[in-house]
Symmetry: C2
Subunit: 592 residues, 2 copies
């Protein structure tokens, strides 16, 4: 079985050297004391937890899965998960970025994202139990009354309880206007919640004693659309100690994340309390959803990193055939397959997507903290614009690439990769869901073109373009400035097209959405790679002793520009191709 | 569970209307009587078998898998497989394209490929048992002595026995020069075979009484390279009725094709007989391998077809949100998701890859028969050149797309696709291996640039280009002639680059191989789509009553040219990018 090693050196490179994140965070009052020493000490500890506690349970958790007992409506998680969760919660990891008011540590959100990356590299299934809790914490923090906060937040933040997000019903996934779960007002001010929710991650399990469900439901006579949805908090166990009738009715059998319980939840007049204003549930739900979307992007990144480690580890040891330019390991019966150009292409594609994706994700993560806590409202606004704009990009691109990288890794390993022995086929199966949940990647693309481009009349996207242009002007002699400039022009041309054509006809924006998001992502990565190359180049000039590390960054940037960024041409052309050939089909012609 | 319907109408369209295959085959003496009536009757029967016998066992076969009994070295296949196999063999399907001399039906190979496509749509795992037998039949037919043929072929052809291909060993997959299995000459002219083979499909199972292994091994003092490999036939049960010591030592646990037994095979001095000349095993092996590679391409196609049927069937029923151009199903709570541009993009991408891939595969299949049986040696040679050239393209592209289509289908279905309920996640897992076995797709790409482009000094590729050019000149007013012409020029430019740079430095060809193969495939599909559009256009002009069928072809061709063929620009650019950025990395820089 593979051994995961947290990529601490690369995390530090991105966070500290490229993004210069410590001073940026220290400028936020709440993080004035967040030093590099502290940050690195925390990451070191998280790495140990991920490597030594979570990773060893990943394969066994997949094989055992979760099991359901219909008599007691209970769910058993795989062996070792409960003890590992206790270590996770006991170590304070659930509380890391939570408000100090309710027992959290108040550390930066971006630090939590970095921890999440390592956790998901090690064990996505296990990481989802505390992961989903954050949605509940966010919703209660931002929309709950003081009373509800006091009742639920301390135990959620400490990890003594976990949380869920109960949105989907059999007849509605993407279209929440179709929700049927009802909330009947009760005399005591609470509500009786009745309905069935599906695909509820961590809806029932044996890690903790209480589970706090955040549930979308309809008040009597609410409008028949998304404007008629309200949010409720529904604990599994009431304060009285009584069992609330919110029962798990069964588990989904899934392609992957088998250690994570995915539940059907039956609310049978369960007692709940309104969170936020009546009929404002959609807005509250997006509070849960947006930070969850960023976290799902990190899941994709984490799995890609784990897959790269396995496939490169295999490739450097696997001896097959000779290098085309003459034997490299003449003392052995064949050369390691890393000598073959096509294998290198495969490995390097993973490497630059992972490291470039990490830079983009952490860049966005730093903006999350600035948006939350900077003293200057205009700085907060600009950071929030960037977070809004980049969240669908990070979610969709990093999960698409998480899947591609895991598959590329499997391919490098040939038949070995297809067997269960190496753990990479599990990564392919596990990461597959990240392209779907918290809004499919198609929905992310529609969010980008339909909502985010128009944010503040285009303010968010102009802010992003200005940042890139400013950097390019400030670094005229840096490597790859011309390539990034060209990519940016392509993205700008696509943006103008989507904005103007989409205004006239939203189906044009819909037809362009997926290639547009990818064009946005690759252009962003090109900028990140140029920034990384600039830092590496300076380090080498200054005679850094980490020569391989920095020269690898320069070569990776070269590879990205020479062989990956080429895709932009095709993506721009597809955006400009318009909707005509998509919409021409009649229903019966699809089947013909 | 999904219901598979064989795409008989589209198969007939490609085979009969586009390729005009019946007269082409009738010009071959052995197939003079192969009429459309006969061909279609056979395909109808195969469709019934696939739909009613094989498909119902696909999901249960995946869930049960194969089990191994170490005491008896025996393997139990999933429930129902043995009875279904009996129907398959009893119906004469194993014998379809085999030589009449030993009990085969002598029908065209392309017909067998079409049957294989349906079988693999229905149940890839079950289809693999008879599928692999063909490799053994081909090797014995072409290289075995008359005595060996008489001893083994009748029972292999009738399906009473099955066959295997035993190539891989723990230390060698791609690089067969590293084989260690030994063959010791015995006094009676046979050989004692000793060694361990892995990943042997159908190495042991309970479908038939005898299994005939074709085994690569080394004679004493054979050269220490691929020039020192010989091929042997090693039956599980000897003529005397004695058990030959060729034992299954265990099963692989795999991501997919769980109903197909993948065995470790231990040969413990098993009795075998030489097939072909000593040290000519590699050449004999390629006889098995080449037709197997085409068949693997058909597997990818078959799975893609099944996935499209499931995902389109889901999408037309799944109601979520409203069309961006106004409600389509106003009487329902929402519109079917097929109204959304991004869902259409996803479905249509599958559709054009499948139907275009089918045309390319059948085109190649017809050439197989011409190459085998035409009276004119120069016609045979040209057809064989095309088969050689297109085999790696069909294998790699159709399996890459089989995987992409299955994933696109899963994505259309959102969370439902990720559950086991719809059967599409199984298709994703099953088809994943097709990109690996019978030579990974990277190896196919190297075969194309390294062997096939150079065939006869470039004769094969010139033949292919001339065919396309002739068609373009003959159909100047046909739809998409300009687009195909442009694509062909891109392919020709890439070909000249690969040939000339690869001559100077084989690593340049290696670096270009994968994008070059895909450029070749998309260009070939563009040609196929132009041909299909030409036929459809003529039918509509002539007032065909199948208006939806033919108009769908025209619209699919439009979609392919407008949105899929765009990728050629990026692929050509990647070919021309050269090896520099790939080869620049030092070993320690991959890990840095």
């Amino acid at each position: 079985m593979p051994t995961f090693r947290a990529p601490l050196r690369d995390m530090k490179f991105v966070f500290d050297e490229v993004l210069d994140a410590y001073p940026v965070l220290q400028a936020i009052p709440a993080h004035a004391d967040f030093t590099a020493d502290l940050g690195e000490a925390i990451l070191d500890e998280a790495a140990k937890l991920a490597e030594n506690v979570l990773a060893p349970l990943n394969s066994s958790g997949d094989k055992q899965g979760c099991s359901y007992d219909a008599k007691t409506h209970s769910v058993k998680t795989p062996e070792g998960f409960a003890a590992a969760y206790d270590q996770f919660a006991g170590g304070g990891w659930t509380a890391l970025a939570c408000s100090t008011e309710f027992g959290g540590q108040g550390l930066p959100h971006v630090l939590n994202m970095m921890v999440e990356e390592m956790v998901c590299s090690a064990n996505l299934s296990l990481g989802m139990y505390p992961g989903l809790t954050h949605g509940a914490i966010n919703a209660l923090t931002q929309h709950g009354t003081r009373e509800l906060q006091e009742r639920f937040l301390p135990n959620l933040i400490s990890g003594q309880w976990t949380g869920t997000m109960c949105l989907t019903e059999p007849q509605c996934g993407t279209d929440l206007g179709l929700i049927r779960t009802r909330a009947e007002p009760q005399a005591d001010g609470s509500y009786a919640i009745t309905g069935t929710k599906i695909w509820i991650t961590g809806g029932e399990h044996d890690l903790v004693d209480n589970i706090v469900h955040l549930v979308l439901a309809k008040l009597p006579e609410a409008p028949d659309s998304v404007k008629g949805i309200s949010l409720f908090v529904v604990p599994k166990v009431l304060e009285s100690g009584a069992r609330n009738p919110a029962f798990c009715g069964g588990l989904e059998h899934k392609m992957g994340i088998k250690g994570s319980s995915t539940c059907v939840m039956n609310f049978e007049g369960a007692q709940g309390w309104l969170v936020g204003a009546p009929n404002e549930g959609l807005r509250c739900m997006f509070t849960m959803m947006n930070s969850a979307r960023l976290m799902v992007g990190l899941q994709g990144l984490g799995i890609a990193e784990a897959a790269y480690q396995i496939s490169f580890g295999f490739a450097r040891e696997r001896l097959q055939s000779r290098s085309l330019s003459g034997p490299r390991a003449a003392d052995k019966p064949a050369d390691p397959i890393t000598v073959h150009p096509d294998v290198r292409r495969n490995l390097l594609r993973q490497k630059v997507m992972i490291e470039g994706g990490r830079a983009l994700a952490y860049f966005t993560g730093v903006q999350v903290d600035v948006a939350h806590g900077h003293e200057d409202a205009s700085v907060r606004q600009q950071a929030d614009d960037l977070v809004q704009l980049l969240t669908p990009v990070v979610k969709a691109f990093l999960t698409d690439e998480g899947f591609s990288c895991a598959n590329d890794g499997l391919q490098v390993m040939g038949g070995s990769g297809f067997t269960e022995d190496w753990g990479i086929e599990q990564l392919v199966r596990d990461v597959r869901i990240t392209r779907i949940y918290e809004g499919t990647n198609g929905i992310q693309a529609l969010d980008l073109v339909g909502r985010k481009l128009g944010l503040g009349g285009g303010r968010a996207v102009r802010t992003f373009f200005a940042l890139v242009e400013t950097w390019l002007r400030a670094n005229p002699s840096s490597p790859h400035v011309a390539a990034v400039g060209k990519a940016l022009q392509q993205l700008q041309r696509a943006t103008v097209w989507v904005a103007s054509e989409g205004m006239k006809d939203p189906e044009q924006a819909g037809a362009a959405a997926t290639p547009y998001l990818r064009l946005f992502a690759l252009t962003s990565l090109a900028w990140m790679w140029a920034r990384m190359a600039a830092v590496a180049s300076a380090q080498l000039v200054q005679g850094s002793t980490e020569k391989s590390f920095y020269s690898a960054k320069l070569k990776s940037a070269d590879f990205f520009m020479a062989r990956i960024l080429l895709e932009n041409d095709t993506l721009l052309a597809e955006v400009l191709a318009g909707k005509a050939t998509l919409m021409a089909f009649e229903d019966d012609e699809f089947a013909a």
